[in-house]
Symmetry: C2
Subunit: 152 residues, 2 copies
């Protein structure tokens, strides 16, 4: 009976749109495609800020602020796509400890989200030094999570 109850609960879970993760995707592949897409968009806008922070393109405060706002918005999205059973061993794929150490992974995600929120605030100051500092902290939060949870 317990097994049946679990099966029913699982079926109901699949119908509940308010749940954050697997329930939103029909297949695991959809979740993987979604999270990769969200990271791709985020990385593109983050990279544009990096180009300014590193002096590869001229500093443009308005563009930095617009890009940082997109980064901050996007930072909230990809984690719903980390559904069980979607780890891998290839370059760039998540390691199994995303799920076996989920609280640590969630904390790393939260750290990145906090840092890009600070980046968005810094970008609004129109001050290149503040942008550089906040960009560096945000980039470190990306790297820390990649080092721990992503296949190199």
């Amino acid at each position: 009976m317990k097994k049946k109850a679990l099966l029913i609960a699982a079926a109901l879970t699949g119908l509940c749109s308010a749940l954050p993760a697997a329930a939103q995707f029909q297949k695991p592949e959809d979740a993987v495609k979604y999270r990769k897409a969200a990271f791709t968009v985020m990385a593109s806008h983050f990279g544009r800020i990096g180009a300014m922070a590193q002096g590869r393109i001229p500093f443009d405060g308005a563009a930095a602020a617009a890009n940082a706002e997109v980064v901050a918005d996007m930072s909230k999205l990809p984690y719903a796509g980390f559904v069980e059973g979607t780890s891998g061993t290839e370059k760039g794929q998540p390691k199994p400890n995303v799920w076996s150490e989920r609280p640590k992974f969630d904390a790393a995600a939260k750290k990145m989200q906090d840092e890009v929120a600070k980046l968005a605030a810094a970008a609004k100051t129109n001050n290149l030094d503040q942008l550089k500092a906040a960009f560096g902290s945000a980039a470190n939060s990306c790297k820390a999570c990649h080092d721990d949870f992503r296949n190199p």
Copy 2:
């Protein structure tokens, strides 16, 4: 001299982050990857609203509003990725008329952006009938552009 001036202008353009399209991407492939990713994220959230509008999952006003807000935000992003020379003949790739009829394409993009903004407003009413109507109009604006500018 005119040619040289144009070359210099082109070089400067490549350095200006405020320009909306090609200047933001180092390679055309990056632009293609970016726009596909933005559409993937948008479609995922749009699909969650569709599932409610079509009765496949229970209506949840708060979830609908949250998803519609993401859709509206995402709708602004992909068009920067439609850089010259990235049409194709395969399923889902943009046809050459994206560029040869650019004002018409831009109008179709604007139409979709307007419709998803209305969808976001409708989703906030917590009224399923309004959500259904706005979802239908938004879906039609997607389809109209796909019919004209995307390989089937």
